[in-house]
């Protein structure tokens, strides 16, 4: 009986090993025949190409390894922005789909059905080229909020110039620690005598108040450098100073957000609808306010339904960000699996590194979300 179970598995394993061994041998023979050598030494070589947008210091005299890092950070940046914004939008739309208001309900439904049924690449092209057509040239741009400009060459906004940034940072950390302890105290107090403190207001005032106090007492200083119009040639202008966010990043983040939010909205709707109606009535009957019902009864249960499929959407969004290559946003695929691969010709090495990188990012997101999911699971006592 036992042998009957082991034998097929052993044969399958052998088969898999043989297949992969054959692939490896074949690749090695082919590479040898073509005089291609395998190795990662190229990562130390000078990249000698420039990248449009970088979060760390980079120019062409840096190494391919550094270019990889630039691409990786750009990927993480757009994934981070996309995840935050699509979560917010997804929750709003998901709740709106259950609204008793007919207009809100139907608008939300239309949005979901429209955006989730159009291929993402088309949406990215649409937002990018539509934006390029619609946005003004730098010299025609209007002032927004008294300080920023939205132009075809990007969004220009004042850049913060810090003095004693480290002190600001330490204050911020202190504020978080303080909030943590106050929260713990409030919880204990509630358990002891049942009184509730307005924790949200207290936390917010600590978060804003502490840095403000340090600022007023001269601990650190913050000023802004404003973008200024600069003439390049007779009819050609750009902005100097401030922070410039390229339209490629804006279009990509927008497209990813609008697309992924539709799926998250459906998850949220499913989560809320998955809670029995009796729960709400029961909570109301013991005197909880509608806000408390949502926060203490509905959401904790709905999250258990919402989190696992939403993790999938976060992973999808991160992987979909590789479509950036189509509109020149310098993400990992464009910079590393694109330019660097072409300039070095190290296709196998670079594709391997890129695959391993996406795998690591995805596993990290999964791990984090699984940990969160575990935390909010029903704890049987």
């Amino acid at each position: 009986m036992k042998r009957n179970r082991i034998l097929p598995q052993a044969i399958t394993l052998l088969f898999i090993i043989l297949i992969f061994g054959f692939f490896a041998m074949n690749a090695q023979v082919n590479m040898e025949n073509r005089g291609i050598e395998f190795g990662f030494g190229f990562l130390k070589q000078e990249a000698s190409f420039d990248i449009q947008f970088s979060l760390i210091e980079y120019d062409g005299s840096h190494s391919y390894a550094r270019a990889y890092l630039v691409g990786l950070l750009n990927t993480l940046l757009v994934a981070f922005i996309g995840i935050i914004l699509s979560t917010i939008l997804g929750i709003v739309v998901g709740v709106a789909r259950l609204s008793p208001n007919y207009l809100i309900k139907k608008t939300a439904a239309f949005y979901v059905e429209f955006f989730r049924n159009i291929p993402l690449l088309l949406q990215i092209f649409f937002w990018y080229f539509a934006a390029l057509r619609a946005l003004p040239m730098p010299e025609d741009a209007n002032l927004l909020l008294g300080s920023s400009f939205m132009t075809i060459k990007g969004f220009y906004t004042p850049a913060p110039v810090w003095e004693n940034f480290d002190i600001f940072f330490i204050t911020l950390i202190l504020a978080f620690i303080l909030i943590f302890f106050v929260n713990r105290y409030a919880k204990k107090k509630q358990e002891q005598d049942g009184k509730q403190l307005p924790m949200f207001l207290i936390s917010l005032s600590i978060f804003i108040g502490l840095p403000l106090l340090t600022f007023l007492s001269g601990g650190f200083d913050l000023s802004f450098s404003f973008p200024e119009l600069k003439q390049l040639a007779k009819t050609s202008y750009t902005f100097e100073g401030g922070v410039g966010i390229p339209p490629e990043l804006i279009a990509l983040a927008l497209a990813l957000t609008l697309y992924t939010a539709t799926f998250i909205a459906e998850n949220v709707r499913a989560g809320i609808q998955g809670i029995g109606i009796g729960q709400k009535d029961a909570a109301a009957s013991i005197g909880l306010t509608p806000a408390q019902v949502l926060k203490l009864v509905i959401m904790p249960q709905a999250l258990r339904i919402i989190i696992p499929p939403t993790t999938n959407q976060y992973l999808n969004l991160t992987k979909n960000s590789s479509l950036a290559a189509a509109i020149a946003y310098p993400d990992l695929v464009l910079v590393f699996a694109g330019t660097a691969m072409m300039q070095t010709g190290r296709a196998i090495e670079i594709v391997a590194i890129t695959m391993a990188t996406y795998l690591s990012i995805s596993l990290a997101i999964s791990l984090l979300m699984n940990w969160y999911n575990k935390r909010i699971e029903i704890k049987e006592k």
Binding site: N26, S236, A328, I348
Partner: protein
């Protein structure tokens, strides 16, 4: 890197090399690529995704251009019919992998011959079918008349994975001008973004600029600056390791250029068989045994000239008459003041 890791990563090679199984086992006396091509009945040729004059498909899917003609010449020589070519449009990024993995057998896609490409990544360049150089295009009303008018903060649209990206950096760095490179994967998107006003300048090979300008909303609103910032010898590429095939592609191109030099055209090729000049007779196959070196019959070169034409005819048909670059510039024969000079076919 340990041996184990090496093997682990070799596994991933399957994505690139799986389908190239044994296309070139040992250096057989006869070319495996040639044999496979004859067996399949068509030449597998990698071209651009649409560059007028070089490789461009019309509405009914017929490819034309001087890069296309190189593949047609090989098809005429090997298979007897210049029409027996299967074209695979490739982006700049895909092109070398497609060739090394054996998806195509000739890469004729306005590709610049450089040392690292030739020596480092399993490719062999067989010649030059167009001498080009990188230039800049700007809007006519911008007031920029020369690269000396470029200022800090200029944004430049281009393609990724090309020598253009590297030259651009060399150029701006050596002049200490800070610039914003906006690099797209496909040429059509570069043109669309530049045309919409995303960039102040569009940089690529000058022939490419001239060709892409014809695709813009208002071609006359753009000018190509006079300066050339690099050498870009463009030519066909084959896989390293099949020297017979390599020679065959090289000499198919050379025959076209030499035919022009000796005044042999598609219309007079047959009558040249009885010429008094032995070199002309060798080119049209009525003297010598030139085809035997490749295992082909003696009329291989005659078929190239008759079906595809000589280099001058190809240039006129694809580049001059289409208004892309009427002036041949350096791509004129060495006897007429250009630099086209090929070794003798004898």
């Amino acid at each position: 890197m340990t041996k184990m890791f090496k093997h682990l990563f070799s596994l991933l090679a399957v994505f690139a090399l799986l389908f190239s199984l044994g296309t070139e086992a040992m250096a057989a006396k006869k070319s495996k690529t040639l044999k496979n091509t004859q067996k399949k009945g068509f030449v597998r040729c990698g071209v651009s995704q649409g560059l007028p004059g070089f490789s461009n498909a019309d509405a009914s899917g017929n490819w034309a251009g001087i890069d296309v003609d190189v593949c047609r010449a090989v098809a005429a020589a090997v298979l007897g019919d210049a029409g027996l070519v299967k074209f695979t449009p490739l982006s700049a990024k895909e092109r070398f992998t497609a060739l090394t993995s054996g998806e195509i057998d000739i890469l004729s896609r306005n590709t610049t011959w450089t040392l690292s490409r030739d020596a480092d990544i399993g490719l062999t360049f067989v010649g030059v079918n167009f001498y080009d150089g990188q230039g800049f295009m700007v809007r006519k009303d911008s007031g920029i008349n020369s690269v000396n008018d470029f200022k800090d903060g200029i944004s430049a649209c281009t393609n990724i994975g090309t020598t253009t990206e590297l030259n651009m950096r060399d150029f701006f760095t050596s002049r200490a001008i800070s610039y914003e490179p906006v690099a797209f994967e496909k040429a059509d998107e570069v043109v669309a973004a530049y045309d919409a006003g995303r960039c102040d300048t569009y940089t690529t090979d000058k022939s490419g600029l001239a060709a892409q300008r014809t695709k813009m909303k208002d071609p006359s609103a753009h000018i190509v600056l006079p300066e050339t910032i690099s050498k870009e010898p463009l030519g066909p590429v084959v896989r390293q390791g099949d020297s017979v095939w390599e020679d065959l592609v090289r000499w198919s191109l050379n025959v076209m250029i030499e035919a022009e030099e000796y005044g042999i055209t598609s219309s007079n090729a047959d009558s040249m068989k009885t010429s008094d000049n032995p070199q002309i007779k060798r080119l049209v196959g009525s003297e010598g045994e030139l085809g035997a070196a490749f295992g082909l019959d003696n009329e291989w070169s005659l078929r190239i000239i008759k079906q595809v034409g000589n280099y001058g005819e190809s240039y006129k048909r694809n580049i001059a008459d289409t208004g892309i670059l009427p002036d041949r510039g350096p791509n004129e024969l060495w006897t007429k003041g250009g630099i086209l000079y090929v070794p003798p076919a004898r």
